[in-house]
Amino acid sequence: MMPLLSVRGVTVRFGGLVALNTVSLDVREGEIHGLIGPNGAGKTTLFNAVTGLVRLAAGQVLFHEHSLAGLRPAAVAALGIARTFQTPRVFRALSVAHNVEAGLHTRTREGMLDAILGTRVSARERARTRAVVRDLLAFAGLADRADAQAGSLALADLRRLEIARALAAEPRLLLLDEPASGMDQADMREMMAMIRRVHDRGLTLVVIEHNMQVMMRLAERITVLDHGVKIAEGAPEAIQRNPVVIEAYLGRAAPVA
């Protein structure tokens, strides 16, 4: 079966630094794919390469048989790839509900003239927008914060909001960059439950996570990066026993428990 996302020999350079070195990786439709590696391994850079935020020096990325080469991030998003950031990037001065509404951009058509003239496109879309926003806020447990300014939310709520905003675009693939970092145990458990509920909606997920125990329980397959190179790929149990992986973690930086 054709993988949903296929990263093929991707190299990314920042000046003299090789952040990703001919990395290849297939993500199957419907799976939760873990991406781990010590700090500076290139995990976030791989997300940036897929979403069009950095230029590839070599290689290509295929999404559902479309080449993503040369597409601007907005075009990648329109094809059905959404992501979150390690430090949540919400629209701080806008309300929580308005943030989710912004996420509907690729699913709606209303243009400047529709808005100014109040066409039927506007009226039809707005009713749907309100319903989708309400559902997603409920899904993310943010219904009671709908009118709060997004900038006033605590970290766990910001992460949930970012996921709700991403889901508004009805993506097929969601890339989560350390969704549980900096959280306490309770929030972390809640986030894991939310990720599973997102998966249950039929999305394919790639998750970056430092916490190995979390990753072992969440992911079906794991890819390990180190210094921009893929050093292992496989089922969680196999990854845990893989001597190369253990060396990468213990030899240079201790795993964050």
Binding site: L53, A74, V90, F91, A93, H98, T108, S122, R126
Partner: protein, 292 residues
């Protein structure tokens, strides 16, 4: 009492109303660009100039009156906004401020030095507005001005409460996040820039047919800074902010006579005080006082 009525409806008051409505139109159009889309422009007078010169030249070339020059000047200004916006909006923040500053100077310099713009003599003899065979008096101009300002505000209102407005505000808040959720940030920046230019151009046409003269010195850096001051003092990204700003900054130098000579000084002072004590402008400060 008669003195008050005179002040309220006399020629002087009507003249002030015309100035306020032109300034409101300019400030509301800049508010779309800077307040909602977050793109700082200190060259907005360039589009005011393009509208005014377009009106003057269309009259001189084709003998067109206001009702034809208004839409043409607005559309030409919109086109200029698209053409100038595309390269300018590739830069951000302080760089964009400098680029738009340069843009304002270039347009004014061209107006002063080109032959077809009348150079230092400008374009004189632009006809007054007339309808049904009658020339407009102050009442007619005041009504036209208020209507233009109202349409501008209505358009800004309708854009900002709909999908395109959400996209603009997302671009302002975090351009990278906006792009990643599928908003073509370049497209929306340029659209905001050109739409703002369109209404500044319309204001330029009204001004040309009101002053019956178009000269380069009405459209300099001082004018751009005055428009920006109105938006900032009233409240960036707030629908009524430009109205409050335009009323205050137009009327203070007029009504408190001794301040007129220090107009730019006054604007500068208001900018400093606003940024220091209420960076969200007067309306922003008022909104924060209300308990949520």
């Amino acid at each position: 009492m008669t003195a008050l009525l005179d002040l309220m409806f006399g020629p002087y008051a009507l003249t002030l109303l015309i100035l306020v409505s032109v300034n409101t139109t300019l400030a509301a159009s800049l508010n779309l660009i800077t307040g909602y889309a977050g793109q700082v422009s200190i060259g907005h007078a360039a589009f005011y100039a393009i509208g005014a010169y377009a009106a003057g030249l269309l009259f001189k070339t084709f003998g067109w009156g206001f009702w034809l020059t208004l839409p043409s000047a607005a559309l030409m200004s919109f086109a200029a906004g698209l053409v100038i916006g595309a390269p300018s909006l590739r830069v951000e923040h302080d760089f964009l401020a400098i680029v738009t500053l340069g843009l304002g100077l270039v347009v004014q310099g061209l107006a002063l030095n080109l032959e077809f713009t009348g150079g230092p003599y400008g374009i004189a003899g632009v006809p007054r507005i007339s309808a049904f065979g009658r020339e407009f008096g102050l009442w007619g101009y005041a009504a036209t001005g208020v209507a233009l300002a109202a349409v501008t505000l209505l358009v800004v209102y309708r854009i900002t409460r709909a999908r395109p407005g959400t996209a603009l505000m997302a671009v302002r808040e975090d351009p990278l996040a906006a792009e990643v959720i599928g908003i073509n940030t370049s497209r929306y920046k340029i659209l905001a820039f050109a739409t703002g230019a369109l209404f500044a151009g319309a204001a330029g046409s009204l001004y040309a047919h009101y002053a019956t003269f178009v000269g380069h010195d009405s459209f300099g850096l001082g004018t751009s800074i005055a428009i920006m001051s109105m938006v900032v003092v009233g409240g960036l990204g707030r629908l009524w902010g430009p109205v409050v700003g335009a009323v205050l900054l137009t009327l203070i130098p007029e009504l408190i006579r001794f301040t007129a000579a220090y107009r730019m000084f006054l604007y500068g002072l208001l900018l400093v005080v606003t940024m220091r004590y209420m960076p969200q402008g007067l309306l922003g400060a008022l909104a924060q006082r209300k308990p949520r």
